[in-house]
Subunit: 271 residues, 2 copies
């Protein structure tokens, strides 16, 4: 099974894909999120995996935009703990490390650790890419910050693991497929995107279609629509699947209220 | 008036502060968001400015965490369009540019433009910092991507402006102060954070306190609380101020339902 992801080989997205499926998948590295979506759409791969929210950084609106622009189905989710590793060329020890290289966001998330190490920092284009470049340079005074998967892919050594300052660092990934899958009997979640006229009470009305049916919401987020000052887009996840009559009726009801409604998919819940 | 912000001199946060106040303020550069909050709390500066959401990248949860951890007041907001500039050392022309340097996120946001230019990319720690380093290096084959403000601060030349692929790129900044300000007569917004037990319908109940009083919501976002699988935190902004009886009554009502409630401030709405 081919699974496309954004980033260099060894990226956190690749690690999440392996954790969700298993070691037998063939991960396909893409330069951009657009390319991940395009590869799934053109059947060049079987699945795509994209991050949609991180516990520290928030929702990645870009990928919600792409979900709306493409006609793919969400068939799964993976909640993946971001555990940054200090990665070096084989034989290098902690005492040798004078510089640390990674994506600025990863460097910022390991600020205290790097300070204690007394190392200088050097920004890189991405986390796994910093490990790849370090491998090529053969430098013995530098460490990269990336996933354990990146160390495995490039045959490098993990000197330390879980070096992030805040360990409540989780990313939620979605698994995308061209055709929908038959819905599992496991507890499911359904993701939708809808828009409303911005009049007082409109969101309250929209939410009543779930509350009246005791459907549990697991995510809600509003987003102003660019260029349309008085309209809002909402991302909403709820417990249940499109196999449940009650969920179908709630969405029929929502259509009466919403300006637009798109059902992105029902999929087994990751707990 | 001293205003602290995160980043190097010329950062987008500094540009937003100038746009919100005026040229007479004294911008104080801080290494981290924590430092911005600490400087306001310790009265070393008069105001702080921090980004809380971007139209492409989403909410910056980190700054909501800091709002909860510190006891500051939101006294204003600024919605600032991110217009990336191509910045060079004086005398350098577009034909000379072989490399482009900036924060990876800015490089990604200008991907098409850089491709058309046929330049290679070099990641930097931040946008304004890339302009500063370029100035120091005196390189004549490299351009930085940063704000127009950064070009002004470092005495460099703007070769092109608005080079981002997606022009719907806005960041919302909050202005922080140690003591609350008397509330303006202009149209106001109030920001609150509250938590709820995750039982079906709890958010619906919480929202009814606004809907029953025709109070318009301008933002809502749920966030799972780390380590507490069944509790959620909500960020909510509504039209109105704590000077309005109806808003005070809505929040009194919300206290009966919420596990925790924090009022972050009422402030004039930026339109």
């Amino acid at each position: 099974m081919k699974v496309s992801f954004q980033g260099e080989r060894g990226a956190y997205s690749e690690a999440a894909a392996i954790a969700h499926f298993n070691e037998t998948i063939e991960p396909i590295a893409c330069e951009s999120f657009d390319e991940v979506f395009a590869q799934v759409e053109e059947s060049k791969v079987d699945r795509g995996i994209v991050p949609v929210e991180n516990s520290l950084a928030g929702s990645i609106h870009r990928n919600y935009d792409l979900l709306l622009r493409h006609n793919l189905h969400i068939v799964g989710e993976k909640i993946f703990r971001v555990r940054h590793c200090l990665i070096v060329n084989p034989g290098v020890t902690l005492n040798d490390v004078k510089r640390v290289t990674s994506h600025p966001q990863a460097l910022a998330q390991c600020e205290h650790y790097i300070k204690k190490l007394g190392a200088s920092v050097e920004p890189a284009y991405d986390t796994a890419g910093s490990a790849k470049l370090l491998k090529e340079s053969r430098a013995r005074d530098t460490a990269a910050i990336a996933s354990r998967r990146a160390a495995d892919v490039y045959g490098m050594t993990v000197l330390d693991e879980g070096i992030e300052d805040d360990e409540a660092n989780y990313t939620r990934f979605l698994i995308l497929k061209r055709a929908p899958e038959s819905i599992s009997n496991k507890p499911c979640k359904t993701s939708i995107v809808f828009s409303l006229k911005n009049v007082p009470g409109s969101l309250f009305k929209a939410m009543s279609v779930f509350a009246l049916r005791d459907i549990d919401l697991t995510k809600i987020e509003s987003r102003p629509i660019a260029g349309k000052t008085w309209e809002y887009m909402f991302y909403l996840d709820f417990a249940g699947s499109m196999n449940d009559d009650v969920c179908q009726r709630a969405l029929e009801n929502l259509k009466e209220i919403a300006l637009t409604l798109r059902i992105l998919g029902s999929y087994p819940r990751d707990v």
